[in-house]
Symmetry: C2
DNA sequence: GATACTTGTATAAGTCAGTGATATAGTTTC
DNA sequence: GAAACTATATCACTGACTTATACAAGTATC
């Protein structure tokens, strides 16, 4: 019944460490009225620019109706805008507004502040080790984000 | 209007790297019908043993009614049980069942497998750097988890 | 040991963010 | 230009939270 998992013991250690970290980060996440998905979409729009509505669904891991509703909420709050594609009348081009950018920045700052509070309590070697691993973790995040589905 | 934030530039880099990682991990999280909070509570019960219902609220960052409802759902799914404290008739002692333990283990395995897929694609130095930072990140998670509110 | 306060859970009503099924409008294809 | 396809929207529903409140068990006071 048990599948022969091809998972390296180190990978299990990393997965378990990340899981703990994930819980911690979840606790720190500011409650500013943005859902996880909403914040993620805004960051994506800020980072990669305007996107077709449905091109956001896959990467964000939600269905198209959910994205339609999310964009509607973001639009109502003035954080994102709907535009149209002159070449194709069906599509909706979603872009972030200045207010949206500000909200992202505010959230980022609060998040950094909350985390910083704990980082300060950490021994210097620990901070150094985390800093040293940062580029590696960013490459890892990049791989995950690229993943087809 | 801008608060003088006392956040070290390194901390901002770490916060931003963690935020990216967080998004990635969120994408990898298996959809097995457990909410984030549900999975977190089960892991906590597995790790720290039976707990009074309301002792779970604070650490999980949800209100008491939410915890009551969550425990009800977990109980309905056979993943957790309500017990009583002979010394105090008001309290409910929540404990994990064997099925709950199995669910946690299944989730952990799937999560490790999904992550491992990407870790394999990473250069050896990157994996080494992440491994080296693991204890530091675990200590950090510990600090966050301990936090009063 | 009855009265009043406190504490631990539960219930109720409302909201928000997701789902699948389906409708609708624009595009492509033949 | 009718059929098939595609992008978005709408609908009805569910899950997981919130606040406010109820209630029952414990504690303290007199």
């Amino acid at each position: 019944m048990q599948e022969a998992t091809e998972v390296h013991p180190d990978d299990e250690a990393i997965a378990s460490g990340f899981a703990q970290l994930y819980e911690g980060l979840r606790r720190l996440t500011p409650r500013d009225g943005l859902s996880l998905t909403a914040a993620s979409v805004l960051r994506r729009l800020e980072r990669s620019g305007r996107q077709r509505l449905c091109d956001l669904c896959g990467p964000e891991g939600v269905t198209q109706p959910a994205m339609t509703q999310l964009v509607t909420r973001l639009e109502k709050d003035g954080l994102a805008e709907r535009g149209s594609d002159p070449a194709d009348g069906r599509v909706v081009i979603v872009s972030i507004t200045d207010a949206g950018r500000a909200a992202v920045e505010r959230r980022r700052a609060r998040n950094a502040e909350a985390l910083s509070e704990h980082l300060r309590a950490l021994p210097t070697e620990d901070r150094a080790a985390i800093l040293a691993a940062l580029p590696a973790m960013e490459r890892l995040s990049g791989l995950v984000a690229e993943q087809p589905q």
